[in-house]
C-alpha cells in the first residue's frame, strides 16, 4: 500500500502522520540490516588484534597454548566442521524418512499430531540435549556402542603421516563416552526436526499433478518419489539439509557438554574435540578484557559467523527457488 492512497484529491503529498508512520516502519525494517552488518563488523573489529598478530596463518595453525599466548583456529574449525557434517550424515536420511512418512504413509488424522511431536523436539532447549547427552547417551556410548564399533571396524587401516606422529585411527580409541561421535549424534537429534520439517514442506509443495502422473504410469510410491518428486525439488531438498547444517555449526550448549572440550585436532571418531562455539562458551570466563585470548575468541566467532552466513544464505536461496517453482 502506498502512502498516497489516503489523500485522494486533496494533495499529492502524504499527510505528515502517514509519512512518520511509514518512516517508523522502514526504520524497524532497517534494524534487521543494521543488526547483521553490526554483528559482522563488531566481531571482526573485536577480533582484529588476533588476526593482526597471527596473520592469516591463524586459520590453519593448530596451536593452543595460553601461557605462551599461542593460538590457532584449526582444531576448533575442524571440530566444528566434522561434528556438523557427521550430524548431517546421520540426520539427513532419518529426516527425509520422517518427511516421506508424514507426506505419503501417515494416516491423515495422525499427520498433524505427529508433525507437532517432531516439531516439539525442536522446541526443547539445547541445554537439555546437552545434559541428556552427557548423563544418558555418553555412558551408553562408552559401555555399549563404542566397544562394538571398535571391534567391528578394527580392520580399517589408520591413516598416518610418514613418521606416525599424527594420523586418524577411525574407531580405535579408548571408549570414554564424550567426544566427536557423541557430539555428532546429539547434534543430529537436535537438527532432525529442522530437516524433517523443511523437507516435509518441500515435498508438500510438489504439484499433485506430477505425482499423479507417476502413479498413472504404474509407478510405486517409492518410484514416484525417487523418479519424479526428488528430481523436481532437488535444490530445495538440499536447501533443507543446509538449513540443518547452519543450525549444527553454531550450536553451543549441547556440543559443549558432550564434545569433550580438548582443543586439538581429533585423531579418531571417539577423540575429545572442540568446536568454535564450545571454545567460546568454555574459554570466555577465563578471558580477561583486553587480553589477546578474548580477541582470539572474537576472531573465532567472526569465522563461525562468516561460515554459517554462507551456509544459511545458500540454504535460503535454494529453498526460495523451490517456492517460486
Amino acid at each position: 500500500m502506498t502512502a498516497t492512497t489516503g489523500s485522494i484529491g486533496l494533495t499529492a503529498r502524504p499527510h505528515p502522520r502517514e509519512a512518520a508512520f511509514s518512516i517508523a516502519l522502514l526504520a524497524a525494517a532497517l534494524v534487521v540490516l543494521v543488526t547483521l552488518g553490526a554483528i559482522l563488523l563488531i566481531l571482526f573489529q573485536a577480533g582484529y588484534q588476533a588476526f593482526a598478530r597471527y596473520g592469516i596463518q591463524f586459520i590453519w595453525s593448530g596451536a593452543w597454548d595460553p601461557p605462551r599466548e599461542l593460538y590457532g583456529a584449526l582444531p576448533a574449525i575442524i571440530g566444528t566442521l566434522s561434528s556438523s557434517f557427521l550430524a548431517i550424515l546421520i540426520a539427513w536420511p532419518v529426516g527425509f524418512g520422517i518427511a516421506y512418512f508424514l507426506t505419503e504413509y501417515c494416516p491423515r488424522p495422525l499427520r498433524g499430531p505427529l508433525g507437532v511431536a517432531i516439531e516439539l523436539l525442536a522446541a526443547i532447549p539445547s541445554i537439555v540435549y546437552g545434559m541428556w547427552g552427557f548423563f544418558v547417551l555418553a555412558p551408553f556410548m562408552a559401555s555399549t556402542v563404542q566397544p562394538w564399533l571398535t571391534e567391528t571396524f578394527a580392520f580399517l587401516p589408520p591413516i598416518t603421516n610418514a613418521d606416525e606422529s599424527a594420523g586418524f585411527y577411525w574407531f580405535s580409541a579408548p571408549a570414554v563416552g564424550v567426544g566427536l561421535l557423541t557430539a555428532s549424534i546429539v547434534l543430529a537429534i537436535m537438527i532432525l526436526p529442522f530437516i524433517a520439517a523443511a523437507t516435509r514442506d518441500v515435498l508438500l509443495s510438489t504439484p499433485t499433478l506430477l505425482k499423479d502422473g507417476g502413479y498413472a504410469m504404474g509407478a510405486t510410491r517409492w518410484e514416484t518419489m525417487t523418479g519424479i518428486v526428488i528430481p523436481a525439488v532437488r535444490g530445495s531438498l538440499f536447501g533443507a539439509v543446509l538449513l540443518g547444517l547452519g543450525r549444527a555449526l553454531g550450536e553451543t550448549m549441547a556440543v559443549t557438554f558432550v564434545i569433550g572440550n580438548a582443543n586439538r585436532v581429533p585423531d579418531s571418531f571417539f577423540a575429545p574435540a572442540a568446536s568454535i562455539a564450545s571454545v567460546v562458551a568454555n574459554e570466555f570466563p577465563d578471558a580477561e578484557q583486553g587480553s589477546i585470548k578474548l580477541a582470539v575468541l572474537f576472531a573465532l566467532g567472526f569465522l563461525l559467523f562468516v561460515v554459517s552466513f554462507v551456509v544459511l544464505a545458500f540454504a535460503r536461496l535454494l529453498l526460495r527457488q523451490g517456492r517460486m517453482a
Binding site: M1, F21, L26, V32, G97, I98, Y100, V116, A196, V280
Partner: protein, 316 residues
C-alpha cells in the same frame, strides 16, 4: 498394479497379483519376467516405506527418551523449596528462586524490546515493502538472523553493551534475547498479515481511512491471534537460550533486581549445576531443566492449540 488408476496406488497395499502390469512389448515372452520385476518393485517400495516409518518412530522414541529422562531425574530434585530459596553453595539446601526470577526478568526485557520491533518489521515487509527489492533483502537477512548462532549474538551484545558499561547485566542479557526474538516475530507477523484478505484493506480504504489507520485498526486486529502465536513461540525460544547469557548476564548466586548487574538465569544455573561435581547441584540442575522444558513445551502447545481453534473458528 492394475490400470485402475492412481487411487489404488496411493491408498491400498498390494492390489492383487494380476500380472498384466503394462502392455508387454513382445507378447508371450514377458509375462513371467514382468511379474518378478513387479514383485521386486513392490518389495522395494514396501521396504523403503517401512524404513521411513521406522525413521518417524525413531524421532518419537528420542522425544520420549528425553522427556522420560527429564521426568525421572528432574522429579527427584523437585520440591517447593525450589521456588522459595535462592541458589546456595552445596550442602545448604538451596533452590532456584532467584534464577527463575532472573529468567523472567530477562525474557520480559527480550519480549518487550523484541515484540514491537519484530511486529513493525513484519508489517513493513507485508504492507509496505511487499515484493520490492529492499523488502526481499530485508526478508533474506531476517531469515539468516533467524538461524544465526546465538552465542555470536551474545558476543556482539557483550562488545556493544557489557564492555562499555563495565558490567555483565540483566539488561545486556535481555537485549541479546530481544535480538534472537526479533526475527522470529518478524517472520510470523509477515506470514500472518499476508493471510489477511485484501477485501479488508479495500473496505477500509473505501471508507476513506488513511494507510496507517488501515494497518493499525483493520489489518493488525485481524492478524492479532496469529501474531500472538508468533510472540509466544519467540518467548518459548528465548526462555531456554543459554549460550548468549554466558557472555552477557553471566549469572549470580544471589538475588539481584538491578538491571545493570550480573543476574542469575535458569539456563545458566542449570549449565553451572549440571557440570558441577556435587550431586545436590546436579539434581537441582535436572529439576531446573524439567521446569524450563515443560514451560517451553507448554508455551509451544498452547500457541498451537489457540492457532488451531482460531483457524477452525474462522472456517466455520
Amino acid at each position: 498394479m492394475t490400470t485402475g488408476g492412481s487411487t489404488s496406488a496411493t491408498s491400498s497395499g498390494p492390489s492383487g497379483a494380476e500380472p498384466g502390469v503394462r502392455p508387454a512389448l513382445q507378447p508371450g515372452r514377458t509375462a513371467r519376467i514382468n511379474r518378478s520385476k513387479y514383485l521386486r518393485r513392490k518389495s522395494t517400495d514396501a521396504i523403503m516405506g517401512g524404513l521411513c516409518t521406522f525413521a518417524a518412530v525413531l524421532g518419537l522414541v528420542f522425544l520420549a527418551l528425553i522427556l522420560f529422562t527429564l521426568l525421572s531425574k528432574g522429579l527427584r530434585g523437585m520440591s517447593l523449596d525450589l521456588f522459595i530459596h535462592k541458589t546456595m553453595t552445596p550442602g545448604n539446601h538451596g533452590g532456584l528462586a532467584n534464577a527463575i526470577v532472573g529468567t523472567l526478568m530477562q525474557v520480559a526485557i527480550g519480549a518487550v524490546i523484541g515484540t514491537p520491533l519484530g511486529i513493525a518489521i513484519g508489517v513493513w515487509l507485508a504492507e509496505i515493502g511487499r515484493n520490492g527489492r529492499l523488502a526481499s533483502i530485508v526478508r533474506f537477512v531476517n531469515d539468516i538472523l533467524l538461524s544465526a548462532p546465538s552465542v555470536l549474538i551474545g558476543l556482539f551484545v557483550y562488545q556493544v553493551i557489557v564492555k562499555p558499561t563495565g558490567n555483565f547485566s540483566a539488561l545486556a542479557g535481555g537485549i541479546a534475547l530481544a535480538l534472537i526474538a526479533m526475527p522470529v516475530i518478524a517472520r510470523t507477523t509477515e506470514d500472518i498479515i499476508r493471510l489477511v484478505p485484501d477485501a479488508y484493506r479495500e473496505g477500509s480504504v473505501a471508507l476513506g481511512a488513511r494507510p496507517s489507520t488501515t494497518i493499525l485498526q483493520v489489518v493488525l486486529p485481524a492478524a492479532s491471534g496469529g501474531i500472538l502465536t508468533g510472540v509466544l513461540l519467540a518467548v518459548a525460544r528465548i526462555a531456554g537460550e543459554t549460550a548468549p547469557l554466558i557472555v552477557t548476564s553471566l549469572g549470580n548466586l544471589n538475588w539481584n533486581f538491578d538491571l545493570m548487574r550480573a543476574t542469575a538465569s535458569l539456563p545458566m544455573t542449570i549449565y553451572r549445576y549440571a557440570s558441577s561435581p556435587y550431586k545436590e547441584w546436579v539434581d537441582l540442575g535436572w529439576a531446573g531443566a524439567l521446569l524450563i522444558t515443560f514451560g517451553v513445551l507448554a508455551l509451544n502447545i498452547a500457541s498451537r492449540v489457540t492457532m488451531y481453534y482460531r483457524a477452525r473458528g474462522r472456517r466455520a
